[in-house]
Point group: C2
Amino acid sequence: MNSHHASFLADFASMSSNGATAGGGVDRQAATVADGQNRNWFRGLVEGHGFTVHYDQVGNQYSMLELSPGAPWIAVGSHLDSQPLGGRFDGAYGVLAGAHAAKRVQEMLAAAGGESNAKFNIVVINWFNEEGCRFKPSMMGSSVYTGKLSAAQVLKTTDPDGVSVREALESIGTIGDFDLPVSAYVEIHIEQGRSLEDRGLTIGLVESTWGANKYEFVVHGDQAHTGATIIADRQDALLGASALVVAAREIALEHSTEEHMVITSCGEFNVFPNSPVVVASRVNLLVDVRSTDPDVLAAADAALHARVAKIEKMANVKIVRGAEHVWGAKAYDQAGLKLAAEAAESLGLSHGVVRTLAGHDSTNMKDLVPTIMLFIPSVEGISHNERELTSDDDMVAGVDLLSEVLLRVVRGEFVA
Amino acid sequence: MNSHHASFLADFASMSSNGATAGGGVDRQAATVADGQNRNWFRGLVEGHGFTVHYDQVGNQYSMLELSPGAPWIAVGSHLDSQPLGGRFDGAYGVLAGAHAAKRVQEMLAAAGGESNAKFNIVVINWFNEEGCRFKPSMMGSSVYTGKLSAAQVLKTTDPDGVSVREALESIGTIGDFDLPVSAYVEIHIEQGRSLEDRGLTIGLVESTWGANKYEFVVHGDQAHTGATIIADRQDALLGASALVVAAREIALEHSTEEHMVITSCGEFNVFPNSPVVVASRVNLLVDVRSTDPDVLAAADAALHARVAKIEKMANVKIVRGAEHVWGAKAYDQAGLKLAAEAAESLGLSHGVVRTLAGHDSTNMKDLVPTIMLFIPSVEGISHNERELTSDDDMVAGVDLLSEVLLRVVRGEFVA
């Protein structure tokens, strides 16, 4: 193992102790004390390596490494926040890899005859609240950066305890007024699926995002006694919501084709008043439908809404669709895909084209600037779980590739 | 309206302001501050009328009216605790009616030539935690009194915040070491169903309880990313639990007959970790199956368990049955039914025989001593809801009947 690899793995182990859970994962939900600790830890690390650190109005953290004074900036990044009882790789790997790769680029340029070869400077961005568990929606920081959400709206968003984003960011002291345009964006992330592992590949070159329609549904019933109320008189919100969860799975199975998979999920489900002997008056739940193909997605989505109408009758409830968060299946930059493939070839790393099912900050950034998205494998595809795992070999291979890609981008081989 | 009726309605209105909610109901969950306030309010009321008040080791409140010194005691009662956002009639009506009826019996005896006609004294019991929402199981206080639960086990039972029954009772100061055997039990309660209203009756004479099998199920899945995890890899605890809720309803519809209804419910449903982008690792839920007939109940129960096995396969989860709380369909005392019918006749109150779907403290008491259970109508059968309603006329008719029944019991016409 070379010294770059050893240094990266040591820093990764150190970072993983911030917000560590007993089960080997981390709990660093956005703007919690643990997230604040980790942001400060990261700031200390990169300042020690000559970066300067700033925060913007929604807490995105910019660690800037100047290679060519006055030149425009390219960004590399991901997110340091985690799910509750999340894994230690998701997001955090990419931010730390970005910092190490930026430093390696600086060294490579110096070794090759000076930093004046750089046409760009590098900023490592730790996007605020990619996970969206404490504050909804997910990908919050990059959504503001790319103009998809307003900062004002985000700052007043509250968590379940009524704490606003502004209050939470102020409490951990990571909010400012910095602002920086960038010319391109590069991100590396764990796959969180198992296609790379199944195909025996080290590197995934992300070709496109899946389309996703994410909905908040509110099922309205009427509170009643579970013992004394006969079936005919019930308006059972829990029954309606449960039927919707079951219907979502059935739709995924019915609409998936050989070529285009449909994935449906329900990740949050809150029952009111949730007492043992009370028929529920209301359930709030999130349902999402994803597919690689827009037509397949549209058909599955229509089927979901048709089922909603049937469930309303069956359970004698009213189902209201609230907030939605929709993104289309979109391609990443083709030139970036080629550049990354050539960089992987030059390092002898096995690689293949993949699609990302999950949303990432690059999902937003690719709509603003030319963007390259890279994956490394997840063991058994396990993610959002304390048992999330990527091997040391795959992690350092990813940093090597990210360094090589960033070097090419900084030299002007991706954007001018 | 006579003065007895006016006095009862005034006291009922006063009591309903304790723990009142904006929606016209009450929130007086067991051993909360609001429950404590209401217990103290009731104590003050009855002490003003010559009762003496004591608490036993699990917070059951005994308001004693001595009619014949040294004579044995008969009990009348119900419960003052409520559901969260519950109605103001459920339980509370019966306790207050008991106190007013006891006082009326004392007056009637005096008018008829002195209290020495009494063969029994009367204790009004406010049973602790009939509702079972804050502390499980329901009917807690009467279960300890009748030996179905141990006091030690009950006292260490905790609410979702980790507060034990002992701590909660001590904090509201309604715990003691009183102990009193009783010879018979009488309870009046709102029906919480609509059979009396549908039949145009004022009084229900409860013939039997429904049998009920109440189960706690834990559905174990595996935490995963909702976006990145393909369907084949999921072990979705929320899907499994939802399918169980849907199956429970289907079983009720399939197993109900003309003669014997089956009712299934799920009243509590907790998802972990319940994050928007995480496939649930675990769901805890309560499912209950009730029927008037033991054989129909057994068949429905077997069908439920067969469905559990199928759901485990479908959702790729493990479903474990935890705590259970089972009671059989049992008859109330036939002589008591006859006594109550005659009392209703003597007052010119329309009446009919009913069964109780819900559990009541009398469900426990009838297994220990001869017990009479009376119902008055609930408008539209709505209960466990802030809109729960019983008319003033029905309430005071119920107090009249309860007084007449108690008079007969005290005179030795029910038990010797």
